[in-house]
């Protein structure tokens, strides 16, 4: 029975195997991409496009009334909204590409995109 404990000729893992785990790292780095522009949609139609770096506060007229949107230091938030549940205000600041604030009752959508046209905007 001694022969049954023969050394296996297969190796479960070798140092070079780490190459195949590199793609994962690459994707984790790529996820945190900051946006460049803010798009504001009202009733599904694009209304304003602003740079994320310009500080400004402005009003947008929706279904129920005026929403106040604030852009500050590369971040954007819904400062005030006339909607009943205030979900859009609770979202807080967003800054990464592809993120969005959606206010359904007032039909206002804020979305961030990069400089180029990408999959989100199509």
């Amino acid at each position: 029975m001694q022969g049954l404990r023969k050394k296996s000729r297969y190796h479960i893992i070798k140092p070079l195997d780490i190459i195949f785990f590199f793609p994962l790292l690459f994707l984790f780095l790529k996820t945190q991409e900051e946006g460049k522009k803010v798009e504001i949609f009202v009733d599904g139609k694009i209304k304003y496009i602003y740079n994320l770096n310009d500080n400004r506060t402005f009003e947008v007229e929706g279904r129920l009334g005026n929403s106040i949107i604030e852009i500050k230091e590369g971040k954007v938030r819904m400062k005030y909204s006339p909607c009943p549940d205030k979900l859009c205000m609770k979202t807080g600041y967003i800054k990464n590409r592809g993120e969005s604030i959606i206010c359904v009752p007032n039909r206002v959508v804020i979305r961030i995109r990069g400089d180029d046209i990408d999959g989100i905007t199509e």
Partner: protein, 172 residues
């Protein structure tokens, strides 16, 4: 000349692999493409143990018979399955012959290759690539995990097979 022993082994491996592929489709999953690919254990086993020809036979028959079992034969998923399996078989065979990678590495590479080829085929046939880029992240994480799982299972399968073969040879 192919020995009868080898033919028997190929048939056994193909049928086991098809059954695993078919049974797997009964497991509930959030998206149809997030499958573990248990049938690939036997494909990897046959590549390492018997060579690329057997691997291709097992892989293709897995896609066809498994598709018949799970009711997806001649749907787009058969094309995806066959192209993904073939490309990853060729890649895994080359990696195996380089002799610098362990079984987990070979399996992970095959799994990632499978995913990439499937995404490419989907984007060529059905939609543009842009809508799939956001899916690619999830798919890549998932295929790495399944690659590692399948590598571990295949390693223990190969080892137990080898031990049993040695025992039979030494006692007869």
């Amino acid at each position: 000349m192919v020995s009868q022993n080898k033919i028997g082994r190929i048939i056994l491996l193909s049928s086991l692999s098809s059954i695993l592929y078919g049974i797997e489709s009964f497991i509930p999953k959030p998206f149809p493409f997030l499958r573990i690919g248990l049938g690939n254990i036997l494909v990897l086993f046959s590549i390492i143990n018997m060579g690329i020809t057997s691997g291709i036979i097992v892989g293709v028959s897995k896609s066809i018979i498994g598709g018949l079992l799970s009711g997806t034969f001649l749907t787009p998923s058969t094309i995806l399955s066959i192209t993904g399996t073939l490309s990853s078989i060729v890649l895994m065979f080359f990696l195996k012959n380089m002799k610098v990678f362990g079984i987990i590495g070979i399996s992970t590479a095959g799994s990632i290759m499978n995913t990439f080829v499937q995404v490419l085929v989907v984007s060529f046939i059905f939609t543009g690539l842009s809508s799939l880029i956001y899916l690619l992240k999830t798919l890549l994480i998932f295929s790495t995990i399944t690659g590692v799982i399948i590598g571990i299972i295949t390693f223990y399968l190969l080892e137990s097979f080898e031990r049993r073969k040695y025992a039979i040879e030494s006692f007869s």
